[in-house]
Symmetry: C2
Subunit: 695 residues, 2 copies
Amino acid sequence: MLDALFRPRGVAIIGASTKELSIGNVIIRNLQTYGYKGNIYPINPTAPDVRGIKAYKSLGEVPGEIDVAHIIIPAKLVPQAIEECGKKGVKAVIINSAGFSEMGEEGARLQEAFLANAKRHGVRVFGPNCQGIINTDPSLKAYCNFTFTYPEPGSVSVVALSGGVGALIMQALFDEGIGMRMYASNGNACDLSIPEILRYWADDPGCKAILLYTEGFSDPMEFLETAREVAARKPVLAMKAGRTEQGAKAASSHTGSLAGVDIATELIFGKTGILSFQDEEDMVRAAKAFATQPVPAGNRVGIITNTGGPAVIATDVLVAAGLEVPKLSDASISRLKATQLPQAALENPIDVVATAGGDQFRAAVEVLLEEEGVDSIFINFVTAPFTDTHEVARQIVEASRKGKKPVVCNFMTDLTQERYRITMEILKDGGIPFYATPTAAARALGALARYGRLRRRDIGRPETFAGADAARARSVVLSARETGRSVLSAADVYTILESYGIPVARWKAAGTPDEAAAAAEAIGCPVVLKVDSEAIDHKSDMGGVAVDLKDPAAVRSAAEGMRRRLGSHGDLKFLVQKFHPGGRELIVGASAERGLGHLVMFGLGGIHVEVLKDVVFKIAPVTRVEACEMLDSIRAKTLLDGVRGQKGVDKDKVVELIQRISQLLADLPEIREMDLNPVMAFEDSVVAVDGRIRI
Amino acid sequence: MLDALFRPRGVAIIGASTKELSIGNVIIRNLQTYGYKGNIYPINPTAPDVRGIKAYKSLGEVPGEIDVAHIIIPAKLVPQAIEECGKKGVKAVIINSAGFSEMGEEGARLQEAFLANAKRHGVRVFGPNCQGIINTDPSLKAYCNFTFTYPEPGSVSVVALSGGVGALIMQALFDEGIGMRMYASNGNACDLSIPEILRYWADDPGCKAILLYTEGFSDPMEFLETAREVAARKPVLAMKAGRTEQGAKAASSHTGSLAGVDIATELIFGKTGILSFQDEEDMVRAAKAFATQPVPAGNRVGIITNTGGPAVIATDVLVAAGLEVPKLSDASISRLKATQLPQAALENPIDVVATAGGDQFRAAVEVLLEEEGVDSIFINFVTAPFTDTHEVARQIVEASRKGKKPVVCNFMTDLTQERYRITMEILKDGGIPFYATPTAAARALGALARYGRLRRRDIGRPETFAGADAARARSVVLSARETGRSVLSAADVYTILESYGIPVARWKAAGTPDEAAAAAEAIGCPVVLKVDSEAIDHKSDMGGVAVDLKDPAAVRSAAEGMRRRLGSHGDLKFLVQKFHPGGRELIVGASAERGLGHLVMFGLGGIHVEVLKDVVFKIAPVTRVEACEMLDSIRAKTLLDGVRGQKGVDKDKVVELIQRISQLLADLPEIREMDLNPVMAFEDSVVAVDGRIRI
C-alpha cells in the first residue's frame, strides 16, 4: 500500500492556491521545480489554473487516477474532503492542515471523524498537521512537501514526526553532499505510523540507511518489534531528544523513578541494534560514511596522516569511540619503508609527512588494506600547496576500491579555491566520505565501528528455566489482587521467587514470638527477624528488623520487643529468615513501563544505588547476553570480581537470577514494581534476602 | 619587540624560489595575493627577480630595513644566515626550514648554534620547523606563512605549535564566516614562546578572543602564570589533544599515577580561567559567539523558536551545558500575549509558530531583553517558504542591538538559494552569530555561559595559616635526605603534619613491646599498633597492623606477635596511635608534577579511589574556593553531607586540611609524593590516621 504514498502516479492538491508562498502553492511549485514525473491535479473552486496547471473545481472532475491527495483546507472541512477522496478512489491523503488532536478536544473529535471516513473507504492517512513525503527516485521525483531543500538522489532515507527536525536533517544531508532516498514527516501520525514506514523502507533496495528523529513513541512495543526486524536488515541511525527531563529525575532507590520514561527510548535503541546519536550533525555525518562504506569487521584502525596535530586529535576521538590503534606488523612496516619518504614515521599513525604525494598515500592505503591487524582506515589529508592534491585524491580513491575495509577521510582544505574543489570532487565521486575536521571524521568512523559491534552482537533468545511453577506464582498474585492488596506480603514475595527457582534465604512465617523462636530452631541460627506488615513502610528504621540472632531465645525476646514497640500498627506477624552475613550486596529490580512491558534493573546495593546512581536497565525479556552486559556496564563492576583481598561473586549465578526474574515478569504482567534488595552474592552462591512486589 | 614580528614593515625571504608551489615561492605569493603593505625582499643568489619582485643576492644588498626574515634554506646553512640577519639588523626571523631538534641530536646542535648567533645579535627566532604568522590588519595584511587560507579581518587570534591544527582552525574560522585577527604557528618554538605571544595579544585592542591549540607545555608554570593574566583580560578558548593516554593511565591508588602528565593541562585551564574544549569545531563555533556577543550575566536562557523539535534539541543541549530554562514572569507573558499570534505557545521556549513574521520575532526578543529572569537569548529560526525571512532577520538584528544580553541563533535554511543567502547576510552584518543546527548553536551559547561562570568565579588567594612551623618540618626533610631516605618514617610524617597544624591521631613511637604498651597507656585505649619500617611495604597485608586494641596488655602481646612474624625484616620499631573508629574515610594526597609544582588530590577512601576513581585534582597552591570545589566535584559528594541516617562530615575542617597541605607543599618543594590515607572525617572533626611522604 505504501507504494501509492511514496510512488504516486497522480497527486491532487485539495486547497491549491494561486497565492505565492502559501502552502497550497508551494507544494505545486515544489512538484514542478523538482521535476515530478506524475500528474498534478490542483483542486480549486474558482481558479481555472494554478501555476500554469489546469485546476479542477472538485476531485470528482479529475480525469485520471489519484494516488495521493494533499489536503490544505480548514480543519472542519477535512472529514468531507476525505469522504470525497474515498469516492474518487484516492489511496492516501497527506493532511497538511493543522487544527486536530494537537489543538485539544474539539480538534481530536475532528480527527476521529475524518479517520472514520478514511477507514470506511480504505484511504490511508498521512498526518495530519504534517509536512509530507519526498521520493528522490530519478524516475519519479515526487516532492509532496512544502519544505525548501531540493535533495540530491541518494541512498539515505529520513523519517521524523517533527517537521522542523526532519527538514533540518534533510538540509544537513544536502549541506554535507549526501544524497537522500526518501523522506517522511508525518506530524500527528494518526494512521500511518513510523514503524510502518520503517518496514516499507526495509524492503526498499534503494535505501542503504535510515535516519530517524524521535521524541518518544506512542506505542513503544510496536516500535521495538519493528525496529528489531528493520535494524537487522539495514543500519538505522536515530536521535532521541528530550533527554534532560530524564536527567532531572533519578535519585530514589525505586526502580520506577530511576528509570523514567526517557530512559526507555535509549533502551529500545540498544535492544534492537539501532545506532543512537545525541547530536543531529554527528548523525548526518555518520550517514555519509554509511552511504558508501562497508561496516568494519572489528575495532582496529590504521591511521594515515600528512600532518602531526590532526592525527593526535583523531586518535583521541577514535580511542574514545572504542577503536584501537594497534601496532603494525613487521611485514607492513617493511613495505612502508620501501614506499614512503625517508622522513615518514612508520608506525600507527603512519605519518607520510606533508610532502607525500599520490604514490605515498596509495602505498600506505594498500599496506593497511592488507594488514591483517587493521579493520578500517582513517586518513588525514591536509592539502599542502606544494602537493599534487588531485593525484593524492585519485590514488586514495583507487587504492581504497581494491579492499573491503571502510576508508574515512579528514580532508582539510579551502573549498572556495577552485583547485581544491576539484580535489574534493575526486574524493566525492570516488565514494570516499570526507570531513573538514579530524574530530568530525573520527566520529563518523567511530559510528561505523560502533554499528559493526552492534551487528556482531547477538543478544540471543530469552531462556526459559525448567521447573518454574507459574501457576503457583499466579495464584499468589491473584489472591492478593482479590483481597485488594497492591503490596504483597513478604511471604507472598518469597513464594513467587521460589516458584521461579530464585534462591531465597530460608524463611518461615510466624504469628507469635514463640512461633518465631520455633522457626529459628527449624531454620538454624543465626537468623534475622522481621515484622511482616504492609502497614510498616521502613521496617528497619522503625526497629522492625533484628539481625544476627544467635539462638531461638534471642529471637523470642526480639519478637516480644517488636510487639511492644510496634503493636499499635495492628496484629504483628513475623518473618524469620536465615542470616547471610558478608558477601556483596546487589539489587535487582523491575518496573512496568507504559506500553513496553518491564524494565529490569541491576546494580550494587547501598550507596551504589542511592548516592552513585550506578545502576543499569534493560527491557524484559532479558537474555543471557544482556544480563552479562548488565553486570559489565556498572561503573563499579570490578567489585564483582573482588578487589584488594575481598572475594568476588559468582557472576553466572547473578546472570541466571536476572534471567529468572525476567521469566517471572513475562508470566506476571500484573507486577508493576519489584525489588530484590539486597541480593547477597558470594563466591559460589547468591541469595535474595529481602524483596518487595507491587501489583 | 613582537611588533616587529607581527607588524613587519619589511619582510625578506632567504631562500626565495622561482619554483611555483615551493615554500620559498608560496610565501611571496601569499604576501602578494593577500595585499601586504610593506616591502618584500626576495633573497636569491641567481634569480634577478622572484614573482616579479626584484631579488637580492644577499641580505646585505637589501636597501631598506627588514623587520622579519623568513629562512627557507637547508638546516646546516641556518646559523650563518642568522649571523647575516644580525649584521643587517633584522629584528625577527621565521625559520620555516626543518631539520633541527625534531630530528634528533645533530639537529638539536644546529638549533643551539643558530640560537647562540641570534642571541648575540638580539634577533628573535620564531620556529624553527614552523609555518609563520599572519596579521590581517587591513593597514598591514602581513601573510608571512605558506598556508592557503586567506582569512577575513576580524577579532579572533589563533596560536598553535602544530601547523596542521593551526591551519585547520584558521580554515574553520573562515568556513564559519568568522574574521581572524592574528595567527601564529611556531613549530619547535626554540625562542619565541606561546606565553609571550599570548601576552602580546592580551595588549592588542583589536583582539577580542584568543584560540589556542596545544598538546602540552614545555614550561607549564610559565604558561600557567601567563594564562592567568591573559585570561583575566580576554577570553582564551583552548583545546588540548592527547587526552586518551591519560585515560589509559589511572588505576592505582597512588596520587602520582592517577594524575598523569595529561591531567595537568586541563587543571591549568581550570585554574587560570581558560575555556577548555574537546572538539576543534565546537571551539571555532564558540569563537563566533565570542567575537560579537557580550558575556551573559547568568545561566538563565530564554528560547524563541518557530518550530517545535529543534527547540527540544536546543533545550537538551543548553541544560546539559549548565543553563536553566526558567519560567517567564507574568509581565512577560502578558506582553507576549499582546504581540504574538493566537497559536503561539507563551512559555519558555516561546513558540512563535512557523507563520510568525518579523513583528513577532522582534516582540519576543524585546520581551526577553527586558525579562529580568533571563540572561541570554537563543533563537531557532527555520526559514519557512511563506515567511518574509529578510524581515525576520532585520527585526532580530534591530531588537538585539537594544539590549546587553547575548543572542545566538540557529538559522536553519538552504544557503544555496539566493533568497536565504540574503537573509543570512542580514544576520551576519547585524552581528548575530548563527549556526546550521540547534545543537551547534546551543553549544556556542553554552560556551558563552560557561565563560561567564569562569569570569564570575574568583578563586581568591591561597591562605597562610599562622603557627605553621616550617623550620621544624624542613629539618625533618633535610635529615631524611642526609641519611639517604626517600620514604619518610611514620614519625617523620606525623611531625611534618603537626608542624602545619594538620590534625593527626595521637601517636607515640615505641622501640619495644613494653614501650608500645606504655605508649598505649599514655595515649589512652583503644589504640592501633603498626610496625614502623621502610622495609615493609604493605604493612596491613603483612600482619603489621593491629586495630582496636583495648588495653596495654593487648598492645604488648600484639607487638610481640609482630616481632615473631616480621623480625626477619630487621629491627622492628612500632607506632602506637589513637584508634578513631567510625567516620568517613577520606584521602588527601599530592604529587610533584614536572615544571608545575604539586598537584593536590582529594577523594573518599577505599573503593571510591581504587575502583570508582572518584578523585579530583587541583594545582597547588589550593585556595579556599578551590578546596570547596574539590569537595563539591566528586561524584559521591552527597556522602560528605550524610545519607540515610549516616552522619555527614565537617566540610570546613576538610577544606582547611586541604589548604594546610597546600601550604606545607609550598614550603617543602622536596616532597615528591604524599598521601594521607585515610583521613577520618567526623561530624565535628577530621584526623589523619595514616600518612606517607616520599621526597
